[in-house]
């Protein structure tokens, strides 16, 4: 099993306070890994640390390359696309421009156009609104746009921060279906941070449980799903 | 902001004060005039610091209040025969009103916007002063000439002092009074309210500080100080003219508080010495040099010493005393 993303002994935080205290996890090449945890466990901090948005210390390897000291822009150019919490939509640009921004580091113009058509294929609602100002899209549409924008990078790893947040169940179902499709057809590995444990465990093959900045449980999705504590606290039965 | 006065500091102050009083007797009249000007600037910088340093409202336009104070004094002396010392409270009052009135709309403005509005005020001031309709009051482009006051008779009985020396003592007395008032104001509730509004406006208001009133009053008081300085300055220089009050005057005030130390009382003094004497030396190099130096000094201080000279001295003081 080749790990596309390997994280060891990761410490990170804001200002003088550390939020992560030595986190360790990995994402298999071609796999889907999910990191679960309650509010405040440090899930968003984890993703930000991996992408270089906040100060961090430890070992992070992406495709074999150490990235723990690199800046975000360079990490992204290595093929890591991050869909942040809150979606990070460019609200003043049109839907189409949002997608173009996603591909802005690429040189192959024809392929970019093809990718754009493919994104509109995955997300027909975006196609309908392609010339609309992105800030006027609904929450679900903005989430789709955020994922599409990330995919325009042709990333090796897609990192998502709570994609289900604030969205209607049907919309969430669509989005998760697309994530599975993207993973299977385009071989994009996925790192998914989610509060909605059952959804996440339905999609992922590997799972980690984060509690106050430490990994307290890890294993295959099935194993984690069957763990009694997880069942009681995070799955509700 | 230090609270009470320690005995050590009291001794230092007494020595400094004695030195200040003795100074004019050891220097030429011209130098005395220059020091008078420095005292005037100290009063102005104190005023600006109250607004920008302690209360966080950026003003790039205090030259306008200085001009108003100066012209008030000049007009009263020239056209109404008011004695020079009476023009100071008048100038202060007029400027307080103008400052407060400007402060009201300024409540809506923050940061860059306030800086821009005050900067516009500074740039427009000379033009307004030159306006033909006001000419019979302001003297138009030529301005107004003021007669230099003589030392008062009760003093002439004791010792002979020149006009310049008398003006120095007079300004010094006014400055001491104003500094004392400011010191008292700033270390009390008002001072804390000012700083609280600067740093945590919402929390301050939640705790009962009247934001709008305090901020407008800060503007008014700041303008008052600057106006008194302007009046004194006009009397010392003996004339007022529109081109003395360009935007660059406002900028030099800002240079003064940055160099001296934002949100400190002593900073007003260091800054005043700086903006009074540095141009005199720099002028000898070239006409453009003073402002180039101002600019470079501003950059150096902002990057490396944002607390100004006052902070640096305080820091050195604590190091020398062995504390950290």
């Amino acid at each position: 099993m080749t790990a596309l993303l390997e994280v060891k002994a990761l410490h990170a935080g804001y200002g003088p306070v550390d939020v992560l205290h030595g986190v360790e996890f990995a994402v298999r090449e071609g796999g889907i890994t999910t990191v679960l945890g309650a509010n405040g466990a440090g899930k968003t901090t984890l993703l930000r640390a991996v992408c270089g948005l906040i100060r961090r210390k430890g070992h992070v390897r992406f495709g074999g390359e150490p990235i723990e000291t690199r800046v975000t822009e360079e990490i992204v150019r290595l093929g890591l696309a991050h869909v942040p919490d809150g979606r990070g939509t460019f609200t003043m640009l049109t839907t189409e421009e949002n997608l173009r921004v996603g591909a802005i580091t690429r040189r192959d113009r024809k392929a970019v156009q093809q990718d754009m058509d493919r994104m509109f294929g995955y997300f027909p609602r975006l196609a309908e609104r392609h010339a609309q100002q992105a800030g006027t899209l609904s929450g679900g549409e903005q989430q789709m746009l955020a994922i599409a924008r990330a995919l325009m990078l042709r990333p090796r790893l897609l990192v998502l921060d709570e994609p289900s947040f604030g969205l209607a169940p049907l919309v969430v179902k669509d989005i998760f279906a697309i994530m599975r499709r993207v993973n299977e057809q385009e071989k994009v590995s996925i790192l998914l941070v989610e509060q909605n444990a059952s959804l996440a465990l339905g999609l992922a093959d590997t799972a980690y449980l984060l509690e106050t900045g430490r990994v307290v449980l890890s294993g295959s999705a099935a194993q984690v799903r069957d763990d009694p504590t997880v069942r009681k606290i995070y799955l509700g039965y | 902001m230090r609270a009470a006065l320690s005995p050590m500091r009291g001794v230092v102050l007494a020595v400094v004060l004695a030195g200040l009083v003795a100074l004019p007797f050891f220097i030429s009249d011209y130098r005395a005039f220059q020091f008078t000007q420095a005292i005037v600037y100290a009063i102005v910088l104190l005023g600006l610091n109250i607004l920008t340093g302690y209360n966080g409202q950026i003003s790039l336009g205090h030259g306008a209040f200085y001009a108003i104070g100066a012209y008030t004094a000049a007009i009263l002396m020239d056209q109404a025969g008011v004695p020079y010392w009476a023009t100071l409270p008048a100038a202060g009052l007029v400027c307080f009103v103008f400052g407060f009135l400007f402060g009201l709309p300024a409540l809506r403005l923050q940061g860059h916007y306030l800086a821009l509005a005050t900067f516009a005020l500074a740039v427009a001031t000379p033009q307004v002063l030159k306006y033909k309709r006001f000419e019979e009051w302001t003297g138009g482009v030529q301005g107004i000439v003021i007669i230099k006051p003589d030392p008062p008779e009760w003093l002439a009985g004791w010792i002979t002092v020149s006009q310049d020396q008398w003006l120095y003592f007079f300004s010094l007395a006014v400055a001491l009074l104003l500094f004392l008032l400011a010191w008292n104001l700033l270390r009390g509730r008002a001072g804390r309210a000012l700083v609280a509004l600067r740093d945590h406006p919402i929390a301050a208001e939640a705790m009962g500080v009247n934001g709008p009133l305090t901020k407008s009053l800060a503007f008014g008081v700041s303008a008052l100080y600057t106006g008194v300085g302007g009046a004194l300055g006009a009397i010392a220089v003996q004339f007022v003219a529109p081109d003395s009050f360009t935007a660059f005057l406002s900028i030099s005030f800002v240079v003064g508080i940055v160099v001296g130390g934002i949100a400190t009382l002593s900073g007003a003094i260091y800054g005043a010495l700086f903006i009074q004497f540095v141009p005199n030396f720099a002028d000898q190099i070239s006409k453009a040099a003073p402002w180039a130096i101002y600019g470079l000094v501003l950059l150096v201080f902002i990057y490396a010493m944002p607390g100004g000279v006052a902070w640096m001295l305080h820091y050195l003081g604590t190091r020398l005393r062995g504390r950290r």
């Binding site: 992408c51 975000t72 580091t105 | 740039v123 006409k287 040099a289 180039a292 101002y294």
Partner: protein, 289 residues
């Protein structure tokens, strides 16, 4: 009627210059949320550079192009060296840094070139352009400004780099997540703003004569124009600039007289800041949670 038309058209001509400067201000404001108080002095300094080249014998348009390129580079350098260190500092520090820049540029220009006014040539002195309403130079100014504005519009709307700069200005974090080097986008923005300022300076110099203080009044109008149109709306800034140009001319000719024209700008600025701080065309931000 002829006089009125002349004032109106003249106002549009100067308005074009204000529009250019207002646009430069908006570009920097959009990406950094800072108002570049030194914009005018940068433009003035560039114009002096052009004057030096012309004085040395270079043909006008060569000097023009050279100045634009040089100003662009200087703008980039200023951003990286002077502005970058205070990017996240309190507002007062940033304002003071800009003021320092203003003061340094002004005094260095005075030092190198002295304070005696100089004439700056106009390349538009052609017989064919003479007419009763606008001087040939004013016509040329309108043409140049329009070209510049159109070119900028096309750049931002249709090129990748323009898109990247817009994205970086609007949402730096998301831009970094797309691989955009936001720091360099800021520097480019400053370079462009400096280049635009240089063009504006070279267009206005023949009208007001070249001296270190030539831009202070003009910048006030540019600020007014930018605020009027909406400090973060480029098209608004352009419209605002033209409006201010016309209002300034008409007010100066018919209402307050030329002596109080600056006061008009002051009143405009304060008025806009008080009553409609987002400007006439201020953006209504539409966001959904």
């Amino acid at each position: 009627m002829e006089a009125f038309l002349h004032q109106l058209l003249s106002g549009l001509a100067t308005g074009g210059i204000y529009a250019g400067l207002a646009l430069a201000l908006v570009m920097i404001y959009q990406s950094t949320h800072h108002i570049n108080f030194a914009q005018g002095e940068m433009a003035m300094f560039s114009t002096y550079l052009a004057w030096t080249m012309v004085d040395a014998g270079l043909p006008y348009w060569v000097a023009f192009a050279g100045t634009v390129v040089l100003s662009f580079v200087l703008g980039v350098i200023i951003e990286r060296v002077v502005v970058r260190p205070v990017e996240h500092a309190p507002v007062l520090s940033v304002v003071i840094v800009f003021i320092a820049l203003l003061v340094i540029l002004n005094s260095v220009a005075g030092w190198i070139y002295s304070y005696t006014i100089k004439t700056f040539p106009s390349p538009f002195d052609w017989e064919a352009l003479r007419n009763p309403y606008l001087s040939p130079h004013e016509i040329g100014t309108v043409a140049v400004t329009t070209l510049v504005l159109l070119a900028l519009y096309a750049f931002f709307r249709f090129t990748s780099l323009g898109l990247a700069m817009r994205a970086a200005a609007q949402n730096p974090v998301s831009s970094r997540l797309a691989g955009i080097r936001v720091g360099w986008m800021l520097a480019l923005g400053w370079g462009l703003a400096a280049a635009i300022g240089a063009i504006a300076g070279m267009m206005i110099a023949p009208l007001v004569y070249l001296d270190p203080n030539m831009m202070s009044g003009i910048m006030l109008y540019a600020f007014a124009g930018a605020l009027l149109g909406g400090i973060d709306n480029p098209i608004g800034a352009v419209v605002g600039g033209f409006v201010v140009g016309v209002v300034e001319n008409l007010a100066g000719a018919y209402v307050v007289g030329t002596e109080l024209k600056l006061t008009v700008a002051l009143v405009l600025i304060i008025g806009v800041l008080l009553f409609k701080p987002s400007g006439l065309f201020g953006r209504r931000y539409v966001t959904r949670v």
